[in-house]
Amino acid sequence: MSTPILDASFALNVALLLMLVAIAFAVVRTRSLLAAILLMSVYSLASAAWLMVADAADVAFTEAVVGAGVSTIVLLGAILLARGETERVNWKLMIVPGVLAAVVGGVLIYAASGLPNYGDPASPANSHVGRAYLEATYRDIGAPNVVTAVLASYRGFDTLGETVVIFAACIGVALMLGFGSRATLAPPTEIPNDQHVVLRVVAKLLIPLIVLFAFYVQFHGDLGAGGGFQAGVIMAVAIILHALVFGLRATMAAVPVSLARSVAALGVVVYAGVGIVCIINGGGFLDYDYLFSPRVEAMIPANLLGDPNHVHHWGQHFGILFIEIGVLLTVSATIVTMFYGFAGRTIETIEAERRT
């Protein structure tokens, strides 16, 4: 059976993957950690562009905000605290890993022969459960974005687990680095006094727009690409931009540490709470069809979303909406807490080192 490989798509696929390989080699080669981080941010951008070629719009969205945005900033914060900007090279230590990587790589490439061709529609991965989701989603849930539907409804329990993991990481970073609250107590240290008026004005203009855009991504998530994870990260990026331009102290006055901490927990509570409400109303955990009791469901006007003829699954609509809000709260608060931890520790460490 011949599969029609669309030439433009395939050429773009190859070009972007070659870019990724080139960047990866540059990362391996460079001894400067700063250059490695910078190249990783370019790597994320290129891989996100590749994800668009491979039709993974939601993943590209996430990779763009997370890979290019948050992980670069977290890595910069870590380098700042670790004070090491170049790694030392020991060529003798390169031989064994090099041989090992070559051998394992060879074996894996050999094994890859057994994998289905790129774009094979009849491969086992594409022909069973993925197809079933595509066929059932509109009937069961009524949301056009199958990715959001699977994420929030079919695999809602899984996503709850992921949210809890993110929350746990938040606690872990906060316990190890502190909540950054002591940063506000430390006396200000001098940095070079350059004039960044343009940046301050543009940041002032952009921050509300970014927050607005985060809400759009949040509530548009079951119609187009987007959802709670992406919106949460975008929201956090707005707060991080504020901290970068106006200083951590000003940001901590606007978004206090205690607020971020409790919101991170609140998100998980909202998510799990939706599941519990479903149990109370007679369904299973996170079975959104039971989110509203029949009496409540009858009160929802049929033309709430326009189109009164279409059979709406209000429980599914609102269940997805609520748990996405929970995800948004946890993710954004977690990333803000992490940023506070990394950026806020700087001053403490400097102070502590000055004293000793």
Binding site: A35, T86, I191, P192, H196, V198
Partner: protein, 121 residues
């Protein structure tokens, strides 16, 4: 009519792509940070304007046009601001403009907080 619009849009897009390549060549070939910033930021905003205009011709007037306008607005807002901040920071760090082998504003000074050099430390 639609066909003509497609050709116009395509022409704008190709022009934008050529401008982007031109800028990239400039970034590769120019002698110092400031000229490179100049090449990149001018062609980024110019190329983006041309390309987004071309895409506007390709799509019917509607929600997509609004989003294209938004993308254009964001690029026009952020790209020059980032270039400005970058040049500002590079100058503050002591990197001085260079033309050929001449440093027209004195030698590079080691900055107070940063060495600006790729192979630093």
């Amino acid at each position: 009519m639609v066909e003509a619009l497609h050709w116009i849009g395509g022409a704008f897009i190709v022009a934008g792509a050529l401008l982007s390549i031109l800028g990239a060549v400039g970034v590769l070939r120019f002698p110092d940070v400031y000229t490179r910033i100049h090449a990149a930021s001018l062609t980024d905003t110019g190329g983006a304007t041309l390309m987004l205009l071309g895409m506007g011709f390709l799509s019917p007037l509607g929600f997509v046009t609004l989003k294209l306008l938004l993308v254009w607005g964001f690029v026009m807002l952020t790209s020059p601001a980032a270039a400005n901040a970058l040049a500002n920071a590079a100058y503050g760090a002591g990197v001085r403009p260079r033309i050929g082998t001449f440093q027209i504003m004195g030698d590079d000074k080691p900055g107070p907080a940063s060495s600006g050099d790729g192979a630093a430390s």
